[in-house]
């Protein structure tokens, strides 16, 4: 859904590694995948956008790829993505602070920055405050309805996404698990990875465990 919205602006922020179609001339202009970040797909996309190319999302394109099957693999993937995206943003920081060079690129870099840094921090802070308020002042019905309101928003979004993408409606129920468990784990991982990136702790690709 996010890619569809970005495609409307012709500014998809990451051409996924498993599937992407490029014009030969575009690659000749900007070069191949670079190896100075851990998110080479994000980097090449930002370079394409900086060169003035438009990037669309093709909803009918199909690609088979392997998703993490354990919590450790998931953390490993998100750790690399977060740090890689931050490295790519840092690489193109000129465009981040100067919207006169390419406004579309500045906009997309800020959305990436928000997604990688601001949103996880806000989510963790909100959860921490929720726990603190519940423990300190008792779990009042007001706090419950606040949580229920957020969960309802997630459910509505899930229903819209499932309908728009013509997916199975049974997937909507996962929105509650997403709210209670998944997103918090991911955001904590993102926050930790961000801290490590700012501290400059060394990282490596590691070995990818394939199951398929």
């Amino acid at each position: 859904m996010a890619r569809s919205a970005q495609s409307y602006l012709k500014l998809v922020n990451i051409i996924p590694g498993p599937i992407g179609l490029f014009r030969k001339k575009a690659i000749e202009n900007i070069g191949l995948y670079a190896n100075d970040t851990y998110a080479e797909d994000a980097d090449i996309t930002l370079r394409l956008l900086a060169d003035g190319w438009k990037i669309y999302y093709e909803p009918k394109a199909i690609s088979y790829t392997e998703a993490p099957s354990t919590l450790r693999q998931l953390l490993k993937q998100r750790y690399r993505w977060t740090r890689g995206i931050l490295q790519s943003i840092r690489k193109h920081k000129k465009l981040l602070v100067n919207p006169t060079i390419n406004f579309g690129n500045t906009f997309i870099l800020w959305t990436m920055f928000y997604e990688a840094l601001i949103w996880p921090a806000m989510n963790i802070a909100a959860h921490a405050f929720f726990i603190f308020a519940a423990l300190a002042f008792g779990f009042t019905s007001l706090i419950f309805f606040w949580w229920a309101g957020l969960a309802l928003l997630d459910l509505m979004t899930a229903i819209y996404c499932v309908a728009a993408e013509k997916e199975e409606f049974r997937l909507v129920a996962y929105a509650i698990i997403y709210r209670m468990v998944f997103i918090l784990i991911i955001d904590i991982c993102k926050a930790m990875s961000t801290i490590e990136e700012f501290l400059g702790i060394k990282m490596h690709w590691g070995k990818l465990e394939r199951a398929g």
Binding site: K76, I131, C189, G206
Partner: protein
């Protein structure tokens, strides 16, 4: 019993548990990654180079009787000679074939005599003019 307090307790417990699980899983992940790194580094430092010995074929053990050098590994039939200068003043390395024995060129002309086909050199009567 009211529903809201039960649901509230479930939500609170689930949120706290997830918080602890997320932090714990991340710390565990970093520890495991660190251990894997140390194992790889240690392995590189201490692992002995593998000594490859020639295998035995038909009960006989193959032994390498001379040290392999760059020269010995080079193709046997070629050797490099000193740079030469040709008639046009160009210099370069000339490679000659040394291993092969050139087969003597077959004589183009043969002569049929009473001893069969012989070369013109072998013909004892060559040069003598005979009148028939």
């Amino acid at each position: 019993m009211e529903l809201i307090p039960i649901l509230s307790t479930i939500i609170l417990v689930a949120t706290i548990s997830t918080f602890i699980l997320a932090v714990g899983a991340y710390i565990l992940y970093k520890i495991q990654e660190g251990e894997a790194d140390r194992k790889v580094k240690k392995g590189v430092e201490t692992e002995q180079a593998e000594l490859v010995e020639p295998s035995e074929i038909g009960g006989k053990k193959l032994v390498l009787d001379k040290t392999l050098t760059e020269e010995s590994l080079a193709p046997q039939h070629y050797r490099t000679v000193q740079p030469v200068t040709d008639a046009y003043g160009r210099t370069g390395k000339k490679t000659t074939r040394s291993g092969f024995k050139r087969r003597p060129a077959e004589p183009k002309f043969m002569k049929f005599t009473s001893q069969g086909y012989v070369t013109t050199k072998e013909d004892q009567n060559a040069g003598t003019i005979r009148w028939r």
